[in-house]
Subunit: 507 residues, 2 copies
Amino acid sequence: MDELTAPTEPEAKNQLFDLQEEWTMQDMTFILFGATGDLAKRKLFPALYNLFLDGKLPDSISVIGLGRNYFPDDIFQSKVESALREYSRRAVQTNGLNDFLAKFRYCKFDAADNDSYQNLHELIHDREIELNIPQNRLFYLSVAPQLVEVITSGLNKSGINQTTGWKRLIVEKPFGNDLKTARQLNERLNNAFNDEEIYRIDHYLGKPMVQNLESFEFANPIFGSLLDRKRISNIQITACETVGVETRADYYDQAGAIRDMVQNHLLQLVMMTALHLPEKMTAKEIQKQKITIMESLRPIYKDKMEQNVVRGQYEAGEIFDTPVVGYKEEPGVAASSMNDTYFAARLFIDNPSWSGIPFYIRTGKRMAIKSTKIVIEFKNKVKQTDALPADGITPNLLIFEINPNEGISLMVNMKNPSSKQFEPTYISFSTNSEVQPEAYELLLFDAIRGNATFFAHWKEVELSWQWIQPLLEAFQENTLPLHPYPAGSNGPEAANQLLQVDQFKWW
Amino acid sequence: MDELTAPTEPEAKNQLFDLQEEWTMQDMTFILFGATGDLAKRKLFPALYNLFLDGKLPDSISVIGLGRNYFPDDIFQSKVESALREYSRRAVQTNGLNDFLAKFRYCKFDAADNDSYQNLHELIHDREIELNIPQNRLFYLSVAPQLVEVITSGLNKSGINQTTGWKRLIVEKPFGNDLKTARQLNERLNNAFNDEEIYRIDHYLGKPMVQNLESFEFANPIFGSLLDRKRISNIQITACETVGVETRADYYDQAGAIRDMVQNHLLQLVMMTALHLPEKMTAKEIQKQKITIMESLRPIYKDKMEQNVVRGQYEAGEIFDTPVVGYKEEPGVAASSMNDTYFAARLFIDNPSWSGIPFYIRTGKRMAIKSTKIVIEFKNKVKQTDALPADGITPNLLIFEINPNEGISLMVNMKNPSSKQFEPTYISFSTNSEVQPEAYELLLFDAIRGNATFFAHWKEVELSWQWIQPLLEAFQENTLPLHPYPAGSNGPEAANQLLQVDQFKWW
């Protein structure tokens, strides 16, 4: 744990800005399972195209899309083109478009059929010969969870993953359903790919503002001295949506907010926020520190659960003046469902950096506003002297806004020159999201170069499940109250109580 | 000097926010010498009107305007109304306008004529009887410098300043021409008004952002811990204009930038910036601390002057693409003038709070941009480790913008997610200047209530002249080079050198 603040290796200081280390870009094959799906269309093709526009693809890259139905290559290429026209953040340019599309081939694929793997292997190999590129193969599994194990096993049996170059596997969430199934899944993936070859996407880690977190205090000495437990009173991490369960009831009613958001995204944000004072900044060091943080995350035992965890479920209400139904009335949800659509908790990281500083996390569907943000609340020394009128002086806040807008704000108290009273004022910086690369662009670029910094490492995933496991059981056994909250509200009152007992409030 | 950081009086803590102390507003007479002049028209009448709109005038106030020519009251009142229509920051409202104008009376006045004082005395007295208000009299001298002594002496001889209530005198700059004449002037004023009754206007002290300086770090504990010599590398105070000498050559060619800007405004900004960690915040305490700062300001002896002071004079050049003449070609300026239109200096405050932190100040006419601001540059610890690429990491800056826009900015380094390079980014807050009260509004309001916090105290003025005096002499004797700079530039190269030798640059 000491490593967080005091690295002992002599070379530590020399690696401070090793994030600039040269990740090599090599010619390769990108094999996309699920190439006719939504993620491919909306995110992956546009991400590849924007990388292409920026000169951030290897000189020679073979892209092979796989799907259940047959298409000739030119139809597939025109599908790719349509996806770019509809979803690329930058307009499609005539110049170079054909070069880009010419990289794409299509292969009809059935995960349960041995011949499919044979055909795929031949196509990959033929293109490698044709383009004269090494056997560097990046497999992207954008498929239903139950197919992940099937396909990796098939890749193994067919020998596609036995290459003379490097091989990498990108998988999407969910990564298991609980600690046990996550471990099973990982073991099976490990039959075909070793740990360093597996890139688990958590698209929150691809958001530019999240990627800024670990370097922000480094590049800004003034914040380096502020982001310290002596000065911070608490940290609040929020990921709220206005949408309800939409068409995902099948999955969501089994998963709940706790699996859908907390085990992965929120705990990743906790790790990224608590990545405090890293003296080294290599990908390996960051992963090591994230693991240390998860190991220091105080378990929530059953007798303390009700004081530290709030689960909720939305009832009918209004979103932007439009009436909406409650969760139990949503199509595909049982009228007796006890599923959580809201989750809030008080966390403590028992290490020297964060000891005694509460981290409050919350996520919910059908909330009043859509907002993902990290709020760092500073101690209000002013408030702590007896002599002062507490009202009017608001604690200083440092806010990292992640979604829907990206930006950093600082809340300061300014004196109103007329009334001579202090008033809270935001000084803020917002990026122009049009010129910001999308999360998938950054993550694909990193995966292509073999930079795993912003992917979820197995050990992090395992520790997250381990931490979550007692909660999953309590939710399952209904030993924790399920607080109703109206759609369009700020969540259950119990979540406010969670902070009020500590004399804080949600920002 | 210890008082700056460690007050010993037991009641100190209880006075922390004494700025909220109740300054009493009492019925009174406002006697304005120079009521037909420019300042009255542009600033004072609009200020009174806006205070009226905000309910910030006494319930009953008698306003008496004085000027050399005769007008009946109703003509004077219509002149006041025209001034409001032209210069008030808020539109004139029909409602209440007559009530406001009815407060105004006019009196023809000749400063050299005893009868004039007699008439004025009678008018003041008659209105006091008529309105049934106490003899609280505020005298505002908006007149040529040579008339200040004449009028105060006349007030004394005529007994106008012998009141049963309070009396106050507001005077505008210039307050003397050097240490000796300033002392003479003060002595003469003291024949009619004592120290606490004299309000010396420095309109820079009326700017809302300057008034924010002394309380900013108090109300914002995070800055309280940053504004510390351990973290600050230097402070830069800039007050630059694009205009030239305009029609003021008579005065300006005698005064120079050093008297026009440095002795008063810039040194006041130095004091306000260095008002560091005030443990008490009463007006008296602030004045006491400002005096302590001036006493700690290291004198610039003749042998060190050239290394620490740069004086300049503009030559012909271009302002916003329009050719303009040099200073010596300006109407009313002698072709041989050695007058300073630019001044820069390195200052040190030898007290425990600021020891070793250079304060760089500069002011100039015909500069590239109009800007008054205070920049606090933080130490760049990042830069100070060997391992780091210094380029790309800019020091953190905290910037108080005073003019033409008011605002606070913080310069931080953000990682560009595409290039992974750090880029300097401003997070800033700007006030909407339409809703901000003007400097004269704030200052008049304070003078009416007897709050002298944001006026220049005699001792401050005296110490400023004392500090400036060796420079005045060197300028007079031309023992210091006069650096030419093209109009529309950033000033003489020598001013850049001033910072370069310390490895800094102007921001």
